[in-house]
């Protein structure tokens, strides 16, 4: 479904990602762990063509994405949820979710908005509230729900737990895992929270200074805990 081969990413002269290669099957759920500045966000942005200059091969559904713009990639079935939320403040929750469906790939049946809102208990009473009048946690829920609304093939989720209270993180983990499973959505999650990542995914990549230093299941991760932790500790 998604294949990266020899991907290098640059911001101007700075070489951020080095020879990244991995693949994801349809419905696969993969966590990318790493310290601040390791290159997790750059990797997601490279897949979406959302900033860095990228060299190397990125293929999605057997199609090379080299010249595809971010909106084309979104219409192909990649949904990017950046870490800074940025919900449309002047639109209600319902309208925010509806907009996500306008540009969606026509081949996939969309998630009914009311069903989706029902899955996020925090959003139920906020259906008609403008995004600007929500708390950070509520906005994060809405941003994630917006990623799901188009029923993408793969959702790229960037640090969704950043700045959230533990109780909201737990609720978010439950909803993300359940939605991905029930709607058949693949997940590529960039996170620092090992607990959250473990709840939502089945495979893990560890990235350090722009290179993949570990790839395996969570069981492999636990078996190599000492080696892996060296790349995660501050």
């Amino acid at each position: 479904m998604l294949e990266l081969e020899g991907v290098n990413a640059f911001y101007d002269q700075s070489h951020i990602l080095h020879d990244i290669g991995f693949s994801m099957e349809e419905g696969g759920r993969v966590a990318i762990l790493g310290r601040n500045g390791a290159g997790k966000t750059t990797l997601l942005k490279s897949i979406m063509n959302a900033g860095p200059r990228v060299q190397g091969g990125i293929r999605f559904k057997s199609r090379a994405l080299a010249n595809a713009s971010p909106d084309e990639r979104a219409r192909l079935g990649l949904a990017f949820v950046p870490e800074d939320r940025r919900v449309f403040g002047h639109l209600t929750s319902y309208e925010n979710l509806k907009i996500a469906q306008y540009g969606a790939s026509p081949e996939r049946e969309k998630v009914p908005i009311d069903d989706l809102i029902g899955r996020f208990p925090m959003l139920v009473p906020l259906r008609n509230r403008p995004g600007s009048q929500m708390s950070g946690g509520q906005q994060q829920m809405l941003a994630v729900a917006r990623g799901i609304a188009a029923r993408p093939h793969i959702m790229l989720l960037d640090e969704p737990t950043e700045g959230l209270a533990p109780v909201i993180v737990a609720e978010l983990a439950h909803e993300v895992a359940a939605c991905c499973r029930d709607y058949g959505i693949g997940l590529l999650l960039a996170e620092q929270s090992i607990w959250f990542s473990r709840q939502c995914t089945e495979r893990v990549l560890v990235i350090d200074t722009g290179r993949i230093v570990f790839s395996g299941s969570w069981q492999d991760f636990d078996e190599n805990a000492e080696r892996v932790q060296r790349h995660l500790a501050i």
Binding site: A50, D71, A74, R75, F88, L91, I99, G103, A104, R146
Partner: protein, 330 residues
Amino acid sequence: MNGSSFMRPAVILLFVAALAAAPFAVNQGLLFLIGIAMLQAMFALSWNLMFRYAGLASFGHAMFYGIGGYAVAAIIFHGFPLPFLLAILLSTAIGAVVAFVVALIVLQRAAGIQLAVLTLALSQLVLLFVSYTDFLGRDDGLSGLARPVLDFGFFTLDLRSPTAFYYFIMVAFALVTAGLLWFVSGRFGRVLLAVRIDSERAAFLGVDVRRKRIFVFTLAGAIASFAGALAAPWAQIISTDSMSWFNSAQPMLATLLGGAGSYWGPVIGAFGLILVNYFTRTFVGLSEFMVGGILLFVVLLAPSGIAGFFEMLRRMRNRTRTASAREHNQ
């Protein structure tokens, strides 16, 4: 139905009734100005369509107004055998095509102030071209434009009568205003607002931002051309003034005065500007000064314009009512 949801249709109905009654209540001079106000309102609505819904600020929008005006004026002046309605449609289409080409070129890279300056420069180039073209009357423009008689077979509409042409403009104004309102209130309007607020995020959701902007720019150009195509036979003259930077500023001033944040702001502003100009016309030399002073007053005291000011009053009244209801319950 609460107070505010009742108020808006009532005000609109009152406005329509006042426009319809104008030919019976005012002299020909003022009737002409009200016709111009409706055309300027359409022009300003088209500008605000770009500004409010796509975040595009064009400083050369009069180019399209002028193109529509010159196209229909040339057809009438040179006696091309084209029915008047078709001439209006053709002029609108020419404006739309030019706007599309300009959008393709300009929106490729320019945004913000670059877009504003580039559109201004383009409009001045077109003005220069017109002022050197004999066919378009050079600097003098085309004057003495005859208003037509529309023959529909089963009835004729004599637009030579100012009153008939006034109602013709009024119907066009109503159709454009209602059509645009329908357009921006639906799905497309929401997507456009999303593009304006956060184009990057909209792209991540699959919205083709560039295509949407080109479409809006083209539509705005078409509506401005349509307004210009009606203005030329209404004034019975078209000149390079219609494409000047001063005319490009009119929809911006109207939007500023009426309120860019409201759909109706440009309409309120266009009528407001015409009224101010009318009532200050005898203060020779002071008229522009007074218009400038009023604009300064509005910008400083009500930055959201007249529409925003009324919206603020409505919110204050609602807050007061809620507070007194709470006190009453306690």
